[in-house]
Symmetry: C2
Subunit: 320 residues, 2 copies
Amino acid sequence: MKIDVTKCAELLKEHDNILILTHAHPDGDTLGSGFALCRALMEIGKICAVINADEIPKKYSYLFDDIVPIKFKPDYVVAVDVATINLLGELESEYPHIDLCIDHHSTNTEYADNLLLEDVPANCQIMYDVINALGVEINAGIANCLYTGLTTDTGCFRYDSTTAQTYRVAAELIEKGAENGRINRIMFETKTKTYARLERLALESMRFYDNERVAVITITQEMYRLTGSNEQETEAIAPLTRQIEGVEVGITIREKADGTCKASLRTHNMINAAELAKCFGGGGHAQAAACRFDCDVKEARRQLVEKCGELLNDGNNLHQ
Amino acid sequence: MKIDVTKCAELLKEHDNILILTHAHPDGDTLGSGFALCRALMEIGKICAVINADEIPKKYSYLFDDIVPIKFKPDYVVAVDVATINLLGELESEYPHIDLCIDHHSTNTEYADNLLLEDVPANCQIMYDVINALGVEINAGIANCLYTGLTTDTGCFRYDSTTAQTYRVAAELIEKGAENGRINRIMFETKTKTYARLERLALESMRFYDNERVAVITITQEMYRLTGSNEQETEAIAPLTRQIEGVEVGITIREKADGTCKASLRTHNMINAAELAKCFGGGGHAQAAACRFDCDVKEARRQLVEKCGELLNDGNNLHQ
């Protein structure tokens, strides 16, 4: 059932022992949404917790390191920033019934009572409204969580999708104590040595196709071995492809341990990344999407480059 | 004389034939301030123009390409985002008398009627208040200029200095028509292919010293030949060294055509970059400085790494 912010807040108030699920390979927006909601619910006396299928990267620890974890039998299960249930990873089988979903992805499959606002660039921007609707005063801890989601999902307020309201919410959060400078330094200005090595190899691997309008980075398991890096650190690689002048589609293909692979797609206006991802069973946003392949990286690259060629040439014909 | 925003607007209203000077080697904040003010003054019927000692980089052309340039004898001269008159470059001798200065630098020397607000991260944030005080409705052209200054001087709303008010002004500007996505793409997301190639070689050249607390990038003439890039494109390289976790001193050494070289130094808190540069006859700020060498890049690197070792080990002793 589709619900609005007011109804969402009512449902949360009616329940207790609330378990919040975040998506696998967690990012700043799912974690920021989850821990902001958890903190807000704790403020109104609820028992609650946030869990994730994967290990949470250390850089996010400030979101939760003052929250004492508690074990309880959940009566109400909420998924935040989770478009489809398979994105829960290993939590999917453990929690087959989700009661409430708060999300901003256009690919959302409405698997629960659904607060979905597609035009909002970060789920934390929706969560800001939910927390206000709960009647909770936003404190510094909540502000840090919400600011983290806003800044990470908008590339530090950089992407097209960022609206006036995103900036206005950021202003409010800073006034409530969000440490914007520190958070942005952690998220955007600090590279681990292992990541720096991986980034170098990733840039070396970049190849161009279709009159240099398609750029492809390939990250292999061998690169993780050589650099000491791992898949968790690859998040910052994908945007590098699209930054190059003339590139319309930036593709980052990551080889998994089992030899299959995953592709992150970044596009400008000529190609819809979600549409491209959909051709391979994936999904996402108009300028940032992802899909999986059962084949190896070379074959995935061949298929993606071929499809990009078709779409770009279609697009050109339309515009001419 | 120190003046406030209201007085500044009064002075501007009292005059006509207003010439606006921006600082040499212009950036987004001086140009954004200048052209925003020029557009606002034109709205209230003033004759005015913006000039600069240097050529304005092409990427800023959207700030002014719809303004028809006019020649006139200036009756009132305004400097924007210009801390000291020598920063005007060749305009300094041409305009020995400046009537009004609107600036945000703590190093401002008060050489005119002075609207100075030091805690504001971008001069365009002050200009937003001035334009409102002039009673001019902010249109899309003005909004684009002001947004450009805000975003470039805050590293896209990233730096510590960015305040809640900066975000709030950005929100207002977007509502007035500022094309935030496009501007950020131009300013932060566009690498030329030649730069992208140079960056790759630069990262490949990175070497670590002194327990990986010193990172050195070396850019040779051969790299320019291989990539089609040039020295003008190296500006964005220097910050890359300091981003790596654990690095206290990031050094970028650029070989000149005559075989001598120049080093850009970036540091965190442990080492003062200006002090390090001073050891080699250079200078700059506490975290960003530069110096020249008459020797080749290898010898410059040897000397710099040796000096860093001394300073870091001194520093360690002091802190232990």
